[in-house]
Assembly symmetry: C2
Homo-oligomer: 468 residues x 2
């Protein structure tokens, strides 16, 4: 039997889970060791979870344990390292007191209000300048989501009605966006941050893309910015953010700011779109996730979406946040464990509390290791002929540009050969809609240092032989 | 600022989270006590989680605790009720040994193979007749999902390209289906199970619906069946299932079997579509969830989708399961805690193991209480003028038919008045696309017995006064 189906769904491409990782899975099944640098999945590469987060969630799953842990504290003979801090028990109790129905019940479709309040407070702390924020974050305009992907998909689903509706996407881009636009039957409108200026952008770059889209009859409705970048890893300068806001304001576009790597800036300051926006009335959707940062809790699928200046909907007595709530209701609610993880992400243990010191040590160790590993890879890239890597290091990725590939081959062939030869699984730049005529790859700087120390020399040798 | 948006997304209706529950939330905020019977959310109404499930998941969140629990077993002075069974520790270790990257990493998009194997084994045990199954379940054709809703949405998204594509839905129906079809821009094609014959169906009912759809130019591609029913709660007889399969085979339709209430049959035998299908080559998609049954773990958003006889896709060298995998990849993976919960749902503790007895006692107590509460409500309905309730009790709902409502009012008005008067929050039958000209309400039989004992007499009084 054959059925006709929606071609958009079949033609979506998702390179980070595409042919190269599939080949890596085949090799693994044959007993070959591969190194999965195709995706930002830190715990798959041995990064440990933050102990405090897991201790609390472990208690939320079995609330009866809180009283039990208190009883154990009174038993002589239990080693002190086998006792949970009173503070951890208190946090778990606090969460359960507010999440009254526990982890097992559906919550409000947006997530419980106390978590949305904690998210708003986090955003305000993050965006303070001289002790104040221009516009406070509103808990009623925050939606908890299953990872950031779900938030992005909700927005695009609502926004796109057909092929005339366009969304501007930075090229190279994260495949979630091309896939989601394709799925909704809309038009992808690429714009080209300037690689050699560290992937920054100016007005001219944005206007050129918009003009091109208008020229082919596309009604551009929104612009997506990913900061720190994915796949580029580059951290955007404040002036680039300002340019995007000016541009969006002038042309009446919504801004979708994918800020899931806001904790991956390695000593640089993270400047959010909300902070630069201040009191201006441009519509802004900001996405965050528990999957990245120093926590890397990808499997828990936590995250949030914050809306500012939600536009009214043409023809309805509703605004965009109302439409988001409708969409969220159909999925009932995001998973409650991811919600709890989101709460912990935005409500750190109190400074000076017993778990604080360990929390800070774990956080700093993860971030320092990521930075070191990025440096190791950058050094290796420096020994490869014709390879350049632009931009300040952010997120979890480097996106080096390759040149001198053999006639008739592209970065897909390169990455496939690299996998076969060294076991290193990366993603070809063409999987990210890179600028035509260029070649790149994306590598997640996540493997343990020993693994990198072993594979990088082999990559250098492979590379210099491959480009001949 | 105003934006145009996709009208399908704005016009979706989702009655179980619609105006009546919203009014209940307002009343709660004003300090009124309400009883949320609008949704199958057992733990929100005080149902306790299954201890074994939570003990294991609590350990999976903090794997270091497994060794710690073993150490505690050696400390004299720790009360025996404060020790975890060795068996629980072993199960947690077994899960972690196979889910190598733990709960914090993205898994395969379908979910890890060992869980899919456990699901397949569960399905085979469930569907055995005389110790054998006609066709064994294939772990490669199983997709873990965030609840069953996600699985249903994936199928419909792939299937529907536009308004000419139709899907047959039982009327009354669960709003997920109408909302998902609306969102994809397809056509809802209702069919009408026979209320007075306990919501059973025959060929004539199905053919009438198909003929009506063809008459308006709709290309019907699939038929949804919900068994046990939602909102009706009725358990389908095997002959009705057979009628659907014959019908689907003759007309080349896919069957989407929503079987999330397969454990809510209260002494009756659950007969699955897969069992009745046997070796016949009709395409069957079966949905299950961790949200219902005796576990009621709604917030964990676990579930699976099993595909049998996946059809090939017209114009592509792919079948429907390949398209599902593409769609699942864009969402990366379902939440891992929901995956672990799905594993536990299908892999019960070993008979005779220490947790077995408690597990069975908890399971049986939940199911017995649900059955008792359904009986209490049925008895109350018997005292209400003009109310009838058809079908064998299944799922978590009763769907009584109301008659004699005051001229010019409908079941929406009735349910709103019932809420205002008694605090009981139900959903009006019109929220489920009931047969025009009839009136119903859906009530989830979940509140604690004491609460029912208090509210049911007030409902009877309200009702008999309301219908006059």
């Amino acid at each position: 039997m054959r059925v006709t189906v929606n071609p958009n769904l079949v033609e979506m491409e998702y390179a980070v889970r595409g042919p190269i990782p599939m080949r890596a899975a085949e090799l693994e099944a044959q007993g070959r060791k591969t190194i999965p640098c195709n995706i930002g999945n830190p715990q798959a590469l041995g990064q440990d979870p933050i102990t405090f987060y897991r201790e609390v969630i472990s208690l939320l799953e079995a609330p009866g344990r809180i009283a039990r842990e208190r009883r154990l504290r009174g038993v002589t003979g239990v080693a002190s390292e086998d006792l949970l801090d009173e503070y951890v028990l208190d946090v778990a109790e606090h969460v359960l007191a507010q999440m009254k129905t526990g982890l097992g019940a559906y919550s409000e479709s947006k997530g419980p209000r106390f978590i949305r309040e904690a998210v708003a407070a986090y955003i305000d702390r993050r965006d303070e300048v001289d002790g104040r924020v221009a516009v406070a974050s509103d808990p009623d305009r925050i939606f908890l989501t299953n990872g950031a992907s779900e938030g992005a998909m909700f927005i695009l689903e609502i926004l796109i009605s057909g092929p005339d509706d366009g969304v501007m996407i930075p090229i190279p881009q994260y495949p979630l966006y091309s896939a989601a636009i394709k799925r909704c039957g809309g038009s992808l409108v690429g714009y080209y941050p300037d690689e050699e200026r560290g992937w920054e952008m100016d007005r001219e770059i944005l206007e050129a893309s918009l003009a091109e889209a208008k020229g082919r009859g596309v009604n551009v409705k929104a612009i997506v910015v990913i900061n720190p970048g994915n796949p580029t890893g580059a951290i955007l300068a404040e002036h680039s953010i300002g340019e995007v806001i000016d541009f969006a304001e002038e042309h009446g576009l919504l801004i979708i700011a994918d800020e899931v790597y806001q904790h991956n800036v390695y000593g640089a300051e993270f400047v959010s779109f909300a902070r630069v926006l201040g009191e201006r009335e441009v519509s802004l959707f900001s996405l965050h996730s528990t999957s990245k940062g120093f926590y890397g809790e990808c499997g828990h699928r936590g995250g949030y979406l914050e809306v500012r200046n939600a536009p009214l909907l043409q023809g309805y007595d509703l605004d965009f946040a109302d439409a988001l709530l409708k969409r969220a209701s159909v999925s009932l609610c995001p998973n409650t464990v991811g919600q709890a993880m989101t709460y912990l992400m935005v409500a750190e243990p109190k400074e000076g509390s017993p778990p604080w010191e360990r929390f800070v040590a774990e956080r700093d160790a993860v971030l320092a290791a990521l930075q070191d590993k990025a440096t190791l890879i950058r050094e290796a890239l420096g020994e490869m002929r014709g390879v350049e890597c632009f931009g300040r290091t952010g997120a979890m990725y480097l996106f080096p540009r390759l040149s001198g590939l053999p006639e008739g081959t592209g970065d897909f062939d390169y990455c496939m050969a690299l996998l076969e030869e060294t076991g290193l699984c990366t993603v070809n730049g063409s999987g990210f809609h890179q600028r035509p005529g260029t070649s790149h790859l994306r590598i997640a700087f996540l493997p343990p240092k020993e693994m990198l120390a072993e594979v990088l020399p082999r990559w250098i040798a492979f590379h210099n032989a491959y480009v001949g």
